[in-house]
């Protein structure tokens, strides 16, 4: 199971969504789809039509900047980051 770390700006929107979630998926897109099943509406908060990641949402797989199609493994760590922007 990959280990997914979520930002507080996201977890505060969904009751019972923890900062760390274990996911069983082959890609970043698959991981987000898995989250959407448990917390409906979450996908819209990370993706915009395309689909693609929202401009200020960054995802890292094992420390490397990733895209939706990026592969993940059972032992991957995923970090979803609400990028520093605005004021």
């Amino acid at each position: 199971m990959a280990n997914l770390h979520l930002p507080p700006t996201l977890t505060s929107l969904f009751p019972d969504l923890p900062r760390r979630v274990e996911v069983d998926a082959a890609t970043v897109a698959g991981a987000i789809a898995e989250l959407e099943e448990c917390w409906p509406g979450l996908r819209d908060r990370l993706l915009e039509p395309g689909p693609c990641l929202r401009p200020h949402i960054h995802v890292y797989v094992d420390g490397e900047r990733a895209a939706l199609e990026s592969m993940i493994s059972d032992r991957s760590r995923l970090d979803v980051v609400a990028a520093i922007s605005g004021g």
Partner: protein, 359 residues
């Protein structure tokens, strides 16, 4: 006992203000909506629900709602988008309106969505496709970051199928049939720039209808203040007597169609009250003459801006007025604008002010 609440949409969330029982002070609650930027907030008197049009820089746009006057909140963006195959994106939800059991949301890129289940889900109602100028306003290059798209929606209180929509920088349009067909309503307006289409290319900032006469409309335009006596079919400029032709906010008296308020601003990049002197301006004769109302407002070094949805008037026998500033002050008048009192300060940049009367 009825409660009067002010709904204050700000760059950092929604705030609710409620006057104390003696009416001498105001209790401030918030920020709500997780401090997302709130472009507009309204109260539906039929359902008792507060709706807030929000757009997070990180997490996109959604309409937040509360059915218990702010005690609990939910949000939804289900259906509130143009879809994966469309080049248009919903960058923000700019405007809201309720009309006989449905909620309307105006967005950017310009489009209008509706909800028939109290804000739980949404569907595209209209993009005003085919109207003059629509091809240009759909281009991403014409949608800079601060653009609002559909900057306002104004339902007709007497006709559940009819409402106005403002396309920012283009003009006002009216539909008689729930958004199926549209007609530009800009005849007689002024524009100080080239326009490729005769009927559009006007910068309507704020459009209001007199509750006492459905045919009496006013607008604060980028260039001038204008009045319509025929429901928007034609417009007459009434700017003479004001210190500036530019402004955003406007309000019309609930019982007297000839009494109307604006807040003139310098038209340059500052867009603040002229000469640092805070004032609201009122006409009692439908724009024939204007009075400066500044008692209680700061008279020096008051570089206050007031945006298009940031002034509101209630429906009382002697109506109360409220306006909020881009620097977080909120002012109220209980004597039709003759004098003003600051009722809140240190709020984030205020984008909208609405009055709700709830049980």
């Amino acid at each position: 006992m009825a409660r009067t609440l002010l709904l204050i949409g700000t760059r950092k969330g929604l705030f609710l203000l409620e006057s104390t029982p003696k009416g001498t002070d105001w209790e401030v609650r918030g920020p709500f909506c997780e401090s997302w930027p709130v472009y507009h907030a309204i109260h539906d008197p039929a359902s008792g629900t507060i709706f807030a049009a929000c757009a997070s820089d990180w997490h996109g746009s959604a309409v937040w709602r509360s059915s218990d006057l702010g005690e609990s909140w939910a949000f939804s963006s289900e259906g509130l988008g143009y879809g994966d195959g469309d080049s248009r994106k919903v960058s923000k939800i700019s405007s809201l309106a309720v009309q006989r059991g449905r909620v309307l949301a105006g967005v950017e890129a310009p489009g209008i969505f509706e909800s028939r289940d109290g804000g739980e889900s949404w569907s595209l109602l209209s993009t005003l496709s085919g109207q003059p100028g629509s091809e240009e306003w759909d281009e991403a290059a014409n949608q800079p970051p601060g653009h609002l798209g559909i900057s306002a929606l104004m339902p007709d209180p007497d006709d559940e199928a009819s409402f106005f929509a403002i396309v920012q920088g283009v003009g006002a349009f009216e539909t008689p049939d729930r958004g199926t067909s549209w007609t530009p309503r800009n005849r007689g307006l002024r524009a100080d720039w080239p326009r490729p289409h005769a009927e559009v290319g006007f910068c309507v900032h704020r459009l209001v209808r007199a509750p006492s006469d459905r045919n009496r409309l006013y607008q604060q335009n980028h260039v001038g203040v204008h009045r319509s006596d025929d429901g928007g079919l034609s417009w007459t400029e009434i700017t003479d007597g004001l210190p500036s032709e530019f402004g955003f906010a406007a309000a019309v008296h609930p019982h007297d169609r000839d009494t109307f308020y604006v807040i003139p601003l310098d038209p340059g990049h500052g867009r603040c009250m002229p000469a640092g002197h805070a004032a609201v301006w009122r006409t009692r004769d439908a724009g024939g003459s204007w009075q400066q109302l500044d008692r209680g407002l700061p008279g020096r070094h008051a570089h206050l801006g007031v945006l298009r949805e940031a002034m509101a008037i209630d429906g009382g026998d002697v109506p109360h007025l409220y306006f909020g500033t881009s620097t977080g002050q909120l002012y109220a008048s209980i004597d039709e604008g003759d004098s003003w009192t600051e009722i809140a300060d240190h709020l984030p940049t205020i984008w909208s002010v609405a009055v709700a009367v709830a049980d």
